[in-house]
């Protein structure tokens, strides 16, 4: 918390320390349902 030395009326505190433009959030296909793995585990082609 950074404070003004004179009267303490001026205070500032950062609550975040990151910049966020680093990825797309994994989302379920629709927020109406919540898959067990949060929709994050993916696989490729079926073997057959």
């Amino acid at each position: 918390m950074e404070e003004d030395n004179n009267n303490g009326q001026q205070r500032w505190e950062p609550l975040t320390t990151y910049t966020w433009n680093t990825g797309i959030e994994n989302q379920p296909p629709c927020p109406n349902y919540q898959p067990d793995d949060g929709g994050t585990k993916r696989v490729g082609c079926p073997k057959n």
Binding site: T16, W20, Y33, P35, V43, C45
Partner: protein
């Protein structure tokens, strides 16, 4: 100097939370500074603090600087959206259902057309063809209509055979009334069932008024018995309870019934509270417009009935509230320019009319068609392009909103139902709702910040 137009300034006790909609920063400032900012009285702000606010892009030298930072974020996020390879597969065997629930999203588009075995083959040809280009979610979602109608049994059995030697599993969104007819096949293939989602909207006197069908006038007991049978097989279930005014005050009675059946704390049962507040749920008597007021109701009710806490309050949060609580709990946020994976064309819904749709509840709406998979694959390039652009940064109304990278622009199907266009956002007063949320959680938030 120029005060960013992407700031949300929210009073909390003697302080204010500053939310920066361009870069996701949140800062706590004294209300005195908040007032100086509001009045653009920058000269009175302590120089050190002013420099901090400039560094964190609350204040720019001019509007051009803000545009540059906005465009950079927009470009980065959109690039990641269109280059993301993850896709989900949803199969609607049919839009037909054995129930006729009051708030159903699909019933007005209900048809008795059903897939054939050949359709299922074609879905797997599609997966094979695109397995290098896309990364498919391992859980194939079965939706509909009701996927476990008795008439679908040969399709269901065939699908299970198709995924037998693969990593795919099924996530089945079922109304639960006919699971007993499938219990043997589920038992034999239980390693292929990832999860069920089944709905109970309250105790029988509430649930049965909302979820019934021609041949099923009372469904509560039947569904509950089927849930118990699935739990005996240790199959995970999301127990969804749809809440609106008329049902909210009865939910504890449902929990009591679960307690009596000794399943309320079953580790395979995950209760999930959902608000009925979307435009496409036309059947609801009273769609919810201020979600925060239901958080208040839930809290008040759970003080009276602590058993309600098997449900999580956070299920009632909208995206801005989730964003803020992530910050307060020191969890990382990532920008959100789409409300779900449907927007961005990341979901392929295979329907019985040979088409691939963008959203599982949109079958029969032309604007939602991404292409065809039967008899051969054919993309609707215009629609695919449109769906890739269905994000907040491409919608005029959202571009100047401080929540542009937080709320995602609202449900596309709601947008279509309300505006007959997916390219208009659905705006449910996100900023006002967030302010109400902070007011409601003032003590909790301040305590967490000071921890």
């Amino acid at each position: 100097m120029y005060l960013s137009s992407y700031i949300i300034n929210i009073n909390i006790g003697n302080s204010n939370l500053l939310v920066n909609g361009i870069n996701g920063h949140v800062d706590l400032i004294s209300s005195y500074i908040a007032k100086l900012l509001q009045n653009k009285d920058f000269k009175k702000i302590n120089r050190n603090i002013l420099n901090r606010l400039i560094n964190r892009h609350y204040i720019f030298n001019n509007i051009k600087e803000e545009e540059i930072i906005y465009k950079k974020t927009e470009k980065d996020v959109y690039y990641q959206l269109v280059n993301d390879k993850k896709r989900s597969i949803i199969i609607n065997f049919s839009e037909a259902c054995n129930l006729n629930c009051v708030y159903c999203t699909s019933k007005k588009r209900r048809k008795n057309k059903r897939m054939s075995i050949e359709h299922v083959d074609k879905i797997f040809e599609f997966i094979k063809k695109f397995y290098k280009r896309f990364r498919f979610n391992k859980n194939i979602i079965l939706f509909g209509g009701e996927p476990l109608m008795e008439k679908n049994s040969s399709l269901f059995n065939y699908l299970l055979k198709k995924i037998l030697n693969t990593k795919f599993k099924l996530f089945i969104i079922s109304n639960g009334v006919s699971i007993n007819k499938y219990i043997d096949v589920i038992k034999e293939n239980k390693e292929k069932i990832a999860r069920f989602q089944i709905t109970l909207d309250g105790p029988p006197e509430i649930h049965d008024k909302k979820r019934y069908g021609l041949n099923y006038t009372k469904t509560f007991d039947l569904i509950l018995n089927n849930i118990i049978e699935l739990l005996k097989l240790k199959i995970p279930i999301t127990l969804r309870s749809n809440m609106e005014d008329s049902s909210f005050y009865h939910l504890h009675k449902l929990v009591k019934i679960l307690e009596n059946k000794k399943i309320d704390r079953n580790k395979y049962l995950k209760p999930y509270l959902a608000l009925i507040h979307t435009y496409h749920l036309k059947g609801t008597s009273n769609p919810i417009t201020q979600p925060v007021k239901y958080i208040k109701k839930f809290r008040k009710q759970s003080e009276k009935h602590p058993e309600l806490l098997i449900y999580k309050e956070k299920n009632l949060y909208q995206y801005p509230e989730t964003f803020l609580m992530n910050v307060i709990n020191k969890r990382r946020n990532i920008p959100r320019i789409t409300p779900c994976n449907t927007a961005g064309a990341k979901v392929f819904v295979f329907a019985s009319d040979n088409k691939i749709y963008a959203c599982e509840s949109s079958v029969d709406i032309k604007e939602f068609v991404l292409g065809e998979y039967f008899p051969r694959i054919k993309w609707d390039k215009n629609n695919v392009k449109k769906w890739k652009n269905r994000c907040s940064t491409k919608m005029r109304k959202c571009k100047r909103c401080p929540l542009v990278f937080i709320c995602g622009g609202g449900c596309s199907l709601d947008a279509y139902e309300k505006n007959k266009s997916i390219m208009k956002p659905i705006c449910d007063g996100g900023i006002e709702n967030l302010k109400e949320f902070v007011k409601l959680n003032k003590d909790r938030i301040l305590k967490l910040i000071n921890k």
